[in-house]
Amino acid sequence: MSESHSAHYNEGLIKKYLFSTDHKIIGMQYLFTGIFMGLTGAFMVYVFRMQLAFPGIHVPGFGLVSQAAYNALVTNHGAIMIFWFAMPVLIAAFGNFLIPLMIGCDDMVFPRINRLSYQIFFLSVIVLFASFLVPGGGFGGAWTAYPPLSAKAEYNLTPMGAPLWLIAVALEFVAFLLGGINFITTLMNARAKGMKMYDVPMVIWMIVIASLLFMASVGPLIAGAIMLLFDQFIGTSFYDAAKGGDPMLWQHLFWFFGHPEVYVVLLPPLGMAVEVITTFSRKKLFGYKTFLHSVYITGILSFVVWAHHQFVAGIDPRMANLFAITTLIISVPIAEICFLVMATLYGGSISFTTPMLFALGFIIEFIIGGVTGIFLGASGTDIFFHDTYFVVAHFHYTFVPIAVIGFFIGIYYWFPKMFGRMMDERLGKIHFWGTIIPFNLIFIPLFFLGMYGEHRRIYNYQHFPELNTPGLYFLRELATVSTVVMLAFQTVFFYNFVRSLWKGKKAERNPWKANTLEWVAPSPPPHGNFEKMPEVYRGPYEYGVPGRSTDFWPQNEPN
């Protein structure tokens, strides 16, 4: 079978950009929709953080924050950042863009299913926005949507908002199931000639393993969502203890998915960090197989830790013991992964480019997130910490590196490939420090607030005398002001992004002198990607091999 391109890809503009089946265009659609949703989620956090630090304030750009609005803002902030920002950007956008390029083929195996996946995702966005506009307003029962609050309109007061929110989430799941199956089969079946299992770049492994984890964990929640919808719409009692149902069932269905989900979003940026760190320290990834196997183990263990979210929900205490142990065990492979990254850096010739700074920031900040998870994973200490701002700080120290920093790792590194131009390094560095410093200033105060007993999901702390002290308000204000500063610094990024699109230095094929196959294609790659389908002769991280004139050795170079 000869693999050359005879077909011409001539399409009209609308067909090309809106109904394209090209994986790169679909990746862009996911990217820009995801960025837009990320900005929406960011606006929400700005509004409710203002309310928390300055209760009763007329928030500029929003107005007075009512209790119902506050709940809806917090709920949708969480849901949007995870389901409509982290997942579409990290998995769908980068997955779509990178998988075919990095495994050396011209597209996904099912381009039209790929397009359908984006269309369903887009529909979910519309339904989500519709849920804000219906009578009663948007859903405010937290992103975890525990019944009975989420199940009964008498309690949540959003008779339309709650079901629409749930439908939006379910649609998003369907979109990612379709996309995920496409990713998995593409990696399994469409690799370039010569690319063996251990020649696959780590970021591709990570995205595909993430899709696998998602696929295997989301099923029960889809079933659970149908049951919850019926409870909301038709008046069934699946989750109503008084009528023979069980509200705990939802918590299990949710967290059986919910915990693997945190690894679903963690793995792709971890893979991106690996690509960037190997490239900019000009060293081979330390322990490729160990890395991969640690991730396998993490993936498997991620299915047996979920009840650590329910330690104080009234679960069987014997089970709480088991889950505390598994939760502590899962830190071992995660720690292993971090050590491998450090070993890769050790003795490398490191250049601190913007993507490299973000990759290092990712690892360092994530470690703080993981370490604080241990306090929560011990079922004894969690009795104190549960549902305080300590938890909020913990998962933001994991999620912000993942979603925000991870997104920047990917963009700064692959921008030349995506758009054919370089981004400005100086602006990139300003943006990096303007993001990372305020980020820590937001969440370190939250750790302390949590330790002082600040309960989360409270609209106004003035109603609680012991939480209404000037000291605590200082910490809240510090967090809020830092939020505003961090958001403000993002304008540097967007300025850089847009300016570089038109004015950036033209990028060559391989501006970073990296080994993986995407750098073999032109920047930006045309429809069909490669002039001639590449073949693979070695692993992706052959940097600084002694006895070669260059310090890198592309995967497709026959010696």
């Binding site: 295997a216 964990s217 203890a241 023979g244 509200p247 299990h252 069987d316 205490p317 089970m319």
Partner: protein
């Protein structure tokens, strides 16, 4: 284009009619089993036979007996997860008190179940 494919190697087809016949007989047994009225037997005829039937359909109709092993692994992993899910949450959903604890949320439950 389909000729360029490594088409699923043409394997000999078993006698599907026989398999169908066996499945129907098994079905009849599983329906008649409960008529004898021994609960344990009902359980065995109902669920034991369901498993056998499912395995037969999977092996012969879905050709898993000649398919690459990896497919079995995919399916078994998914099934294992469901067993795990069952056994781990069973203590919560099916048991509402222990030596030093009882679940308040479900306290109302046993006393006032609605009957039809």
């Amino acid at each position: 284009m389909s000729d360029s494919h490594p088409t699923s190697q043409a394997h000999p087809h078993p006698n599907y009619f026989k398999i169908w016949g066996t499945l129907v007989i098994l079905l009849i047994v599983s329906v008649l089993g409960p008529l004898i009225g021994i609960p344990l037997l009902t359980l065995m005829t109902a669920f034991g036979i369901a498993v056998v039937k499912a395995l037969m359909v999977a092996a012969y109709f879905m050709h898993l007996n000649v398919e690459k092993k990896i497919i079995w692994y995919i399916l078994l992993i998914c099934l294992t997860l469901m067993f795990l899910f069952f056994f781990v949450i069973a203590p919560d959903i099916m048991n509402h008190e222990g030596t030093n604890w009882h679940s308040i949320g479900s306290a109302v439950k046993n006393s006032d179940v609605v009957h039809h």
